[in-house]
């Protein structure tokens, strides 16, 4: 069928509900659709969605998958004639799912989106742990550390270790280790702190080193561990040499060569691959290579060759040695056969001890916050799944896994792989359970997140799980690329297949060619623009201008709804590109572009925050006066500065009063002083916001960069608000920690822009009509330090990591272990860089345009940077030098290359902004009425509550409440409760038990006496109309005023209406009853008058004065009639 891709059989096979698969799917192959189809296929066969689990690596991927499933299930559209067959298939599968659950009558509930078992590895782990925190040994309600918080803690832990060790005695071994380590690092604490921070962030790779840190101080163990790792590293290097030499002509006629050479240093037989053989290899390298590590061209006696050696066939044989062998020999020249000298072992031990301390503190800090970082999360999940039969555990946690799907499997880390294996334990024994892993090893670009592409490769035939054995998988490969044009697909196949990804190293991946989809357009060949490197940055500026011009041209003819992606290998030249775009008047959307801290408006706001928080910061205050909101002249600033006062707020307060101070400066000073007074009372972001509004500071800020400046300012205020802790100093410190990592928000002017500029990593999973790929001269190793303080790398073929320290500052040579690990690291980075290049070019659907800066080695002979995408292209095309000036096609596959020399600078004016609409009006609303509580009339004069008299509770208040309850009880004709119940009521109010027990009989006696009081007894005895106790009432108290209150007692004694307010208070020790009563009467008169009015109205009495009212003092059983 024409509309079926060539790999349709593999796609169909991947849906088999019985099979378990390892699916390799290249860029643009519709991998997500296959995954989706399988998900639906299986979903239509399970009892509940919880029987399945689809794991992704990013929340973005999980969200997209879930969205697509929901769209298919719930927003079904009848397939039309233009619906592609694959979509139609998905729709059918979705129908089957609906039908399957509808049959059970639980469609709505079971297929609710939140029940769809699609989640990231991390959210799955978190979910498990939340159900079983104790078994996993994690805090009960843990949260995941945000990235900035984890960074903060990883920075804080070494600092805290330092502080703690500083407080310990000199003899303390950890303290000594710290001092020794400092000495080794030229007493640079920042370097040591950085080292510990990095190690904490990679502690999941430390394995036995961490074990040692936590449990052993035995130097021999450190030594043997280092030796073991060194040998693991060295052996493959030597084995490659041994194999290479043995296969070469020189190796095959070694004995003859040896006899010819007569050099006692050379081994008589071919050396092997043990560490002891190293010296032999070094001897061979000494003979065959020059000082620089090149293959020797001159074979004179001066270099130890027999006199007529150059006339023998041997030089020719030597020249034939394969390059791999030569580079291996070069590498081994500087190695020492001993893993580490004792001082190296001791130094490593020091570091590991310090790491142990740092880890301890870090865990403590996390525990205080009830938080886990991602490493701790994974490790806890692994612990949890190791406790018993994982399927039992899962069952207990309400999960019965039958089908597992893993997306982006090329990004799996070792820990995640182990987790998968634990989940799969016992699966072989049970039929009907399936696993599918999907990915593309060529797109594995997350090495820095511990993604291990080899896990993908090793799992082709089955998931190699240590405990569970191998979980068999059927390897499948789909090849059709539905995204890119025919030309681009073939271009990538050839360039990457033959050169960039040819000859896989242990860190590399095997390249498999993609095939065009059935509807692929033919397309244009890719282009490459080159710029001669010049002094300073002129070439880069030219490249940027050219890029802006080309992008502008492309935008003009871009088909509707299409987008252009400018992909960056690194952010190194982002600023130059952005400037060129801006000069060209081209709006571009930037994802995580420039740093927020770099924006001048943010620097001013940051400075303002510092000033408001710290009156002692002279510089910040002076800076605040010179902010874009005022730009106070230096002259005025000087006058203010020379005024009296130790602190600037004081100086300004005085300066404000002086005639010299201009009006607009006065406004700013007032704003600043007001802000400072609010610090500590209001959130910092709010204070600054108020300042900006009140001091009319926004126009000045906006003047720096228009809406972009306002957007940045708002982003900074958000960052401050997020850091708010209630204490200004703490808030500021936290915000300052987060600020350097924050990015500027997208430029508001680029909202509708059709050009996006983003990193290749950020572009993964996206596609563009046209892709621009500048900075092809990117050298991934260039920014790597040659001497990082430590190296931690996985040793190929072992799954173990090697750890080595850089030489001490006084030594010249790095250890062998260090050199070997550095080699591994560089190899890994380069292999990943090749994949980054692959990901970049495969984002293009229609056009690919590349550019880069190249060195001119003289007379127009280009010298491409080594180990760079440009270098790889050179390696593939091997173009003739010098380069022609005009555009020229390079074969095969065709690449249109142009050496660009002149790019004029075009400056475009920003478009005029149109007329602004009038802002809407907004008026607050008047209250319909005030609600007044008469009880508050007596309290109005009261001050702020006093400090609590701690220990006895608020006894008078509680006593009053309980007495009122007792009076209510008797008013309702009920019996008084027993003393124990009264004591309980007092305790309920906070009175201590002994005091309550003492007080209860007293209260009962008091109320009993009230009941006996003839006046009250008389009132309580009335029946007609029934008395009202605790009577709730509301009253229209005049225009816009409503009163609400509770009247203690209303009664009619047959003649008069009575209103009573019970008073349980009594005079202080010194006070006379009469004086006290007088005071109370005055205090409560307004309240009682209000009550009387309310009651009279409610009873329909015309004249409220006819009602009698009084305060009834329960302690004295006396009624004071008002």
């Amino acid at each position: 069928m024409k509309d079926q891709p060539l790999d349709q059989a593999a796609r169909d096979r991947a849906l088999s509900p019985q099979g378990s698969f390892h699916l390799e799917a290249p860029a643009g192959s519709g991998k997500t659709s296959v995954l989706l189809a399988r998900f639906l296929t299986l979903l239509a066969r399970v009892e509940t969605p919880e029987a399945m689990l689809a794991l992704t690596f990013t929340r973005k991927a999980a969200g997209e998958l879930r969205q697509r499933v929901m769209d298919l299930l719930w927003q079904r559209q009848e397939p039309g004639p233009s619906t592609p067959p694959w979509e139609r298939r998905l729709q059918e599968l979705a129908d089957q799912v609906s039908w399957h659950f509808d049959k059970k009558g639980e469609l709505q509930e079971l297929l609710a989106p939140e029940r769809l078992p699609i989640m990231t590895f991390h959210s799955f782990c978190a979910q498990l742990l939340r159900y079983a925190p104790q078994e996993a040994g994690v805090p009960l309600e843990f949260r995941l550390l945000e990235a900035d918080e984890a960074r903060w803690l990883q920075q804080e832990a070494p600092e805290e270790v330092r502080r703690r060790l500083a407080a310990r005695s000199w003899q303390d071994p950890s303290r000594q280790a710290l001092v020794r380590r400092l000495v080794r690092l030229n007493n640079s604490w920042p370097r040591l702190a950085g080292e510990l921070r990095d190690l904490l962030g990679r502690r999941d790779c430390l394995g036995e080193f961490l074990e040692l840190a936590l449990h052993s101080r035995d130097q021999d163990r450190y030594h043997s561990l280092l030796t073991e790792r060194f040998q693991l590293l060295l052996r493959p290097v030597l084995a490659t040499l041994a194999g290479g030499l043995a296969a070469s002509e020189l190796g095959q006629s070694w004995t003859a060569f040896w006899q010819e050479m007569q050099n006692p240093a050379l081994p008589s037989r071919l050396p092997g691959a043990t560490p002891e053989d190293l010296t032999h290899w070094q001897a061979i390298a000494g003979v065959l290579l020059t000082k620089n590590g090149e293959l020797r061209k001159s074979f004179t006696p001066q270099y130890g060759f027999p006199g007529d050696f150059k006339n023998t066939p041997w030089p020719g044989v030597i020249r034939q040695l394969p390059p791999d062998l030569v580079s291996g020999l070069k590498q081994c020249r500087h190695l020492h056969p001993v893993a580490a000298r004792p001082e190296e072992v001791a130094a490593l031990q020091d570091l590991v001890i310090l790491l142990g301390e740092a880890l301890h503190v870090y865990e403590e800090l996390c525990a205080q916050r009830q938080a886990l970082d991602f490493i701790a999360l994974e490790q806890a999940a692994l612990r949890l799944l190791a406790v018993e039969d994982p399927s039992d555990l899962l069952l207990r946690l309400d999960r019965r896994l039958t089908h597992l799907l893993v997306d982006e499997f090329q990004d799996t880390s070792e820990a995640q792989m182990t987790l998968l294996c634990r989940l799969l334990e016992g699966w072989q024994e049970e039929a009907g359970r399936t696993l599918m892993v999907v990915g593309d090893p060529k797109q594995s670009i997350y090495g820095w997140r511990q993604a291990k592409v080899r896990l993908f490769q090793e799992s082709r035939e089955g998931l190699p799980c240590a405990g569970a054995g191998t979980v068999p998988l059927e390897p499948l490969r789909i090849t059709a690329n539905f995204r890119s044009s025919n030309t681009l697909i073939h271009w990538a196949n050839q360039v990457f297949g033959e050169t960039v990804m040819a000859g896989a190293t242990p860190e590399g991946v095997e390249f498999h060619a993609a095939t065009p989809g059935p509807d692929a357009a033919s397309g244009q060949p890719p282009r490459l623009a080159l710029f001669w490197e010049t002094e300073a940055d002129a070439a880069r500026e030219a490249e940027a201008r050219w890029l802006a011009r080309e992008v502008a041209r492309s935008v003009a003819i871009l088909p509707e709804r299409e987008k252009i992606g400018v992909l960056l290998f690194a952010r190194t030249h982002l600023r130059a590109y952005l400037r060129a775009f801006s000069d060209a008047g081209l709006a571009v959307q930037v994802k995580e572009g420039l740093k927020l801290a770099e924006a001048p408006e943010v620097q001013h706001l940051h400075n303002l925050a510092r000033a408001l928080v710290r009156p002692q910061d002279d510089g910040a205050w002076a800076g605040a006066l010179r902010g874009p909101w005022g730009r106070v002249s230096l002259n005025l600033l000087a006058q203010a500065a020379l005024g009296p006062g130790d602190l600037w707020p004081e100086k300004l307060r005085r300066f404000r009063e002086e005639g010299l101070c201009p009006l607009d400066l006065r406004k700013i000073i007032e704003g600043l002083l007001a802000g400072q007074a609010q610090a500590g009372r209001w959130p910092l972001a709010e204070i600054i916001s108020n300042f900006l509004d009140e001091a009319d500071a926004w126009p000045g800020l906006a003047g720096l960069a228009g809406p972009g400046a306002v957007a940045n300012a708002r982003a900074f205020l958000d960052l401050l608000a997020a850091a708010e802790s209630g204490l200004p100093e703490e808030t500021l410190t936290k915000a300052e920690f987060n600020l350097p990592e924050a990015f500027q928000p997208p430029d508001p002017r680029a909202l509708d822009a059709r050009v996006e500029i983003l990193t290749v990593h950020g572009a993964k999973g996206l596609e563009f009509h046209q892709v621009f790929l500048p900075f092809l001269d990117w050298q991934p190793l260039k920014n790597e330090s040659k001497t990082p303080p430590f190296l931690l790398e996985e040793i190929p073929g072992s799954r173990l990591h090697g750890l080595a320290l850089a030489r001490p500052y006084l030594k010249e040579k790095q250890s062998s272990l260090y050199l070997l690990l550095r080699g591994l690291k560089e190899q890994r980075l380069l292999e990943e860089a090749r994949r980054v290049f692959y990901v970049a070019v495969t984002r293009a659907r229609h056009t690919l345009v590349m550019s880069g800066v190249i060195k001119n080695a003289g007379q127009g002979t280009p010298n491409p940077p080594p180990h760079s995408p440009l270098g790889w292209l050179w390696q593939h095309y091997q173009p003739a030098a010098p380069l022609p000036a005009g555009p020229a096609p390079w074969p095969e596959p065709e690449l249109r290359v142009e050496l660009v020399s002149e790019v004029p600078l075009i400056l475009t004016q920003p478009p005029e902004t149109g007329e602004l609409p009038e802002p809407w009006d907004f008026q607050p609303e008047a209250r319909p009425y005030q609600l007044e509580f008469p009880s508050q009339l007596a309290e109005k004069t009261q001050e702020a509550p006093a400090l609590p008299a701690v220990g006895g509770g608020d006894t008078p208040r509680v006593r009053g409440e309980v007495t009122h309850r007792l009076l209510d009880t008797i008013s309702k004709g009920r019996e008084l409760p027993p003393a124990a119940a009264v004591a309980a009521a007092l305790r309920q109010g906070g009175v201590p038990p002994e005091a309550a027990a003492r007080l209860a009989p007293e209260l009962l006696a008091e109320v009993a006496a009230c009941r006996r009081d003839p006046f009250l007894a008389g009132l309580l005895a009335t029946t007609l109309p029934p008395l009202k106790s605790e009577w709730q009432l509301e009253e229209d108290a005049g225009p816009g005023l409503i009163r609400r209150g509770v009247i203690d007692l209303l009664a009619f004694d047959g003649q008069d209406w009575w209103i009573l307010d019970y008073k349980t208070s009594r005079p202080e020790r010194e006070e006379e009853w009469d004086d006290f009563i007088r005071g109370e009467v005055e205090k409560y008169r307004p309240q009682l008058m209000a009550y009387r009015q309310m009651a009279a109205k409610a009873q329909g009495l015309e004249a409220p004065e006819s009602m009698k009212m009084g305060l009834y003092f329960t302690a004295k059983q006396c009624m004071i009639v008002l």
């Binding site: 010179r626 002259n635 009006d921 702020a944």
Partner: protein, 903 residues
């Protein structure tokens, strides 16, 4: 469960019909249960309006209570024999149970577990599932929970306290016995899903009197629009604009409401946006908007300030905490001394004191800041520290200590009205805590934990009023309320309904039975809440964000209608609602022309003499000289761990100067530097260093520095070796730390003074002046071509002018640097630029001319920024370490290349 005959149901399609029914139907003797107080208040409000319309002068408010309040009223009328344990009391009991009960691996018996146990207990009680009997199916955790529950109940009994379970038992028993004052009829509004214990109660009541359930079931047609916004930020921006639009259309503000199933998640953003667009919530004229939910007490600055003394004492006596305390606006003692107290921080920073009361006190007591007021403050602080010293004490004692400290420090002072309310909650909390913790022994940290826990549970009222302004309230609070228009935000799946609660302390069968424990029950609860929402207004707007944390989100399954995609970007496209915001308005205003600094000359008296270092600043940039030297605008230094380069350099200078001056005498005596003198030199050097570092050697960084200087392969040994070599070449130390002054020149703005690190003399070679460099040694082109170094020309000029006593005459003269960065050969060297020594004359002349030019400039009052060397590309030039960039306003040209970090 069999339903009682007298239990009836009535369904209302809208809240307003339900409220009308209540207003009409409630007769004397009828009690109505409402789901929350807010509904009662809205009905009372309507009752008032009706009463006013009917010209009633006074009326009794309708009896509307929540079930919880009704139970409380009933239990009060019963006079229970024992008090009900308060939530804090219960936590104390749980903590005791945790201490008394068996330990369980993987579990720290902390407050978090006590809270979880209490929550599980309440949940089980509410669902009538509480049982302490062991169950063979139990996991160790669940068996442990049962065991602890038994212990907890034992403690409650022992302490004579009732639990929730006891309360309902009492009430049911009293109901059966006819001891409760019951209404004649009970209406139950909006309680669609009672928990089993509530259900049992209502059933029992229904056996005695008619009970009518009033249910709400709105119609999906009430949804007038359902809108998807790209993210949460835009969703809030859009909703705020929409509300303004509705107000613009004339809808009364109090008839508009905004809600969300995740209101807490939206509150910070909503507060910010509403304030930006509508001003403060409660302006003098009335209400703009009202947040029904305020912050918790723990979130208030007042609370944070209240805990500061305790925090300082119990968490490492950090400088930052002490400074926060000194600057806090709530402490009278400190507020009264704000003109000088903040200076302490400057001194702490300059002396690099990060923590420890003794060290902080020492530093604060020294120097200029220790005026009499300062001493008094220190004494008070010392007393405070003694009061709060973290020796364990009983909770009551802690509360008393803290109160005492507040009294001493004058806390809280200057409270505003809202803060008064907060303060009274603080005092209530302290009182509430003191009771349950009266007998519990706590450390300061534990007491702080309790305080924090308590404060987190105190919910403060919102900032506006309920009867005027837009209403912002939680979804549960919407039940039964009536509005004209309601906006509901955040309607994504996973939020609404939320995922099942993990409830790890409940066994799987228990989880199945409790509300919220399963997908099904969460779904049901969400459905009911949504039905009530649909009834809340004739027109609803639903919104949701498409992306949350980069994750594509799916709409809630509660609403099956179509969603419209919208975008709002107030800074991209002018929006009349958003143009109310001054920031947004400014963004669209035409850009002001570039502001040029008015170049008014600055009239300031220059000092007669400055140091060479200060002159170097002036030559590097006149503006920096103005700010730093003339106006004394100081940067507030950050404390960085490790040794400060300045102190390191200073001490090294001192050690070298002292040693050299002592050893010079020995050399002069012997005129020979043999092995014997070498040994002597080593001893002397070590002794000198020990003497001058004596006060520092406790510090581990100085210990390391000692090793770096004097350990094996130490820097100073290597230096000594080089000096010995030079001695043998005929060089002699002529003078050390040699001072000079009165260095003057034609047109110079001031005279100069300085100090030359060392002057050496050689019979044939003449004099050489040395400057010690503990950092990088400048390269020759910097000194001779770019003329960037000022120190050496100054030294040379001083000699030339005869201002240096030790070196007069006209011997050949040179200058150079002694590099002391490390013992590495490339760092440790005597760099005297032998190839270019002949150029010093030119360098000095240029230097003198530059000073004269500076003189002319300063005389004209021109202090505008002019960094020399000017920054270029990634090189910062004179601005590199200058902290005044934001003051001077100099525009550093942008570098096209950013620093890119490696892996």
């Amino acid at each position: 469960m069999t339903k009682s005959k007298s239990m009836a149901h009535q369904v209302f399609p809208t809240s307003v019909t339900l409220q009308d029914f209540l207003l009409k139907e409630i007769t004397p003797g009828t009690l109505t249960l409402v789901p929350h107080q807010r509904l009662a208040r809205q009905v009372w409000h309507r009752q008032r309006q009706r009463a006013l319309a009917q010209d009633l002068a006074a009326w009794e408010p309708l009896p509307l209570v929540t079930l919880g309040h009704w139970w409380a009223d009933l239990s009060r009328s019963l006079w229970l024999p024992e008090p009900l344990a308060s939530p804090l009391q219960r936590l104390v009991f749980w903590q005791r149970a945790l201490a008394a009960g068996p330990a369980l691996e993987g579990l720290t018996p902390d407050l978090a577990w006590a809270q979880a146990l209490d929550e599980a207990y309440s949940l089980l009680c509410r669902h009538r599932l509480l049982s302490c009997e062991p169950d063979p199916q139990d996991s160790p955790l669940h068996a442990w929970r049962r065991r602890l529950t038994a212990i907890f109940q034992g403690i409650c009994r022992e302490e004579g306290c009732l639990t929730e379970a006891d309360l309902t038992t009492y009430l049911l028993r009293a109901l059966d016995a006819g001891q409760l004052p019951l209404p004649q009829k009970l209406l139950v509004a909006g309680l669609e899903t009672p928990a089993p214990v509530e259900e049992a109660w209502l059933q029992a009541v229904a056996r005695r009197l008619p009970v009518v359930h009033l249910r709400l079931q709105g119609h999906p047609q009430a949804v007038k629009e359902a809108v998807v916004l790209p993210d949460k930020r835009q969703e809030v921006d859009w909703a705020a604009a929409r509300l303004l639009e509705l107000a613009q259309e004339g809808l009364p503000l109090h008839r508009l409401a905004l809600t969300s199933p995740d209101l807490a998640g939206y509150l910070p953003e909503l507060r910010r946006v509403m304030a930006e667009l509508m001003g403060p919530p409660h302006p003098d004229q009335g209400g703009a908007y009202n947040f029904s939910q305020g912050p918790t007490l723990a979130e208030t600055p007042l609370w944070q300030a209240a805990l500061l003394p305790l925090k300082f004492v119990s968490s490492g006596e950090l400088r930052a905490d002490l400074v926060s305390l000194l600057l806090s606006p709530y402490y009278r003692l400190f507020q009264e001394r704000q003109s000088r107290l903040p200076l302490w921080d400057r001194v702490f920073r300059e002396r690099r004191v990060e923590r420890g009361w003794e060290a902080l006190r020492r530093v604060a007591a020294q120097g200029e800041q220790a005026e009499p007021g300062g001493k008094e403050v220190l004494e008070v602080l010392n007393r405070v520290r003694q009061i709060l010293r973290p020796a364990p004490a009983r909770g009551g004692e802690w509360a008393a200590r803290l109160t005492r400290v507040w009294q001493i420090l004058g806390f809280p002072c200057g409270l505003e009205e809202t803060e008064m309310g907060q303060w009274s909650r603080v005092t209530d909390l302290l009182r509430d805590l003191a009771g349950p913790l009266a007998a519990v022994s706590l450390t300061a940290t534990q007491f702080r934990e309790w305080l924090t826990l308590g404060a987190r549970q105190v919910l403060l009222p919102g900032e506006g009023v309920q009867d005027a302004g837009l209403q912002v309230l939680g979804l549960l609070e919407m039940r039964g309320l009536d509005f004209e228009r309601v906006l509901c935000l955040g309607l994504n799946s996973g939020v609404f309904p939320p995922p099942p609660r993990p409830l790890p302390l409940l066994s799987p069968p228990e989880r199945q039975k409790v509300l919220g424990g399963t997908y099904q029950s969460q779904h049901r609860l969400a459905r009911e809440a949504f039905d009530a929402l649909l009834a809340a207004a004739p027109a609803l707007t639903l919104t949701r964000p498409r992306l949350v944390d980069q994750e594509e989100c799916v709409a809630t399954s509660m609403y099956g209608g179509p969603w419209r995609e919208e975008e709002i970007s107030p800074l991209s496209r002018p929006h009349p609602a958003w143009l109310r915001s001054p920031g947004v308005r400014a963004a669209f205003a035409p850009a002001p022309g570039p502001s040029s600094e008015a170049a008014a000359p600055i009239d300031i008296t220059l000092p007669g003499e400055v140091s060479l270092t200060q002159a170097q600043i002036a030559l590097g940039c006149p503006c920096r000289f103005l700010l730093e030297i003339l106006l004394a605008i100081r940067d507030l230094p950050e404390i960085e761990a490790g040794l400060s380069p300045a102190e390191r350099g200073d001490r090294l200078h001192k050690v070298l100067a002292r040693f050299a001056s002592d050893f010079k005498k020995i050399l002069e005596e012997h005129q020979y530097w043999g092995d014997e003198q070498a040994e002597e030199a080593r001893k002397l050097l070590q002794a000198t260093a020990r003497l001058l570092l004596e006060d520092r050697l406790e510090d581990l960084h100085w210990q390391a520095e000692w090793e770096r200087w004097l350990g094996e392969e130490g820097l100073l040994w290597e230096w000594l070796r080089l000096e010995r070599e030079r001695f043998h070449q005929g060089w002699r130390w002529l003078a050390l730390e040699e001072r000079f002054q009165d260095l003057a020149g034609a047109g110079w703005p001031f005279k100069l003074k300085g100090r030359i690190d060392r002057i050496d003399w050689h019979r044939d070679e003449g004099l050489i002046l040395w400057d010690y460099k503990t950092g990088e040694v400048p390269k020759a082109p910097k000194v001779f071509d770019d003329l960037e170094e000022f120190q050496l020309p100054g030294y040379l000029a001083a000699i030339k002018q005869g201002r240096v006593d030790a070196a007069t005459g006209d011997a050949p003269l040179r200058a150079g640097y002694i590099g002391l960065k490390s013992a590495l050969q490339k760092h440790l060297q005597h760099e005297d630029f032998p190839k270019r020594a002949g150029e010093w004359g030119r360098v000095i002349a240029a230097w003198e001319e530059r000073l004269a030019a500076l003189g002319r400039r300063l005389a004209a009052g021109d202090y505008s920024p002019q960094p020399t060397p000017a920054p270029q590309g990634r090189k910062g030039g004179a601005c590199q370490y200058c902290p005044h960039l934001l003051i001077c306003g100099y525009q550093i040209p942008e570098s096209p290349e950013d620093e890119e970090e490696g892996e």
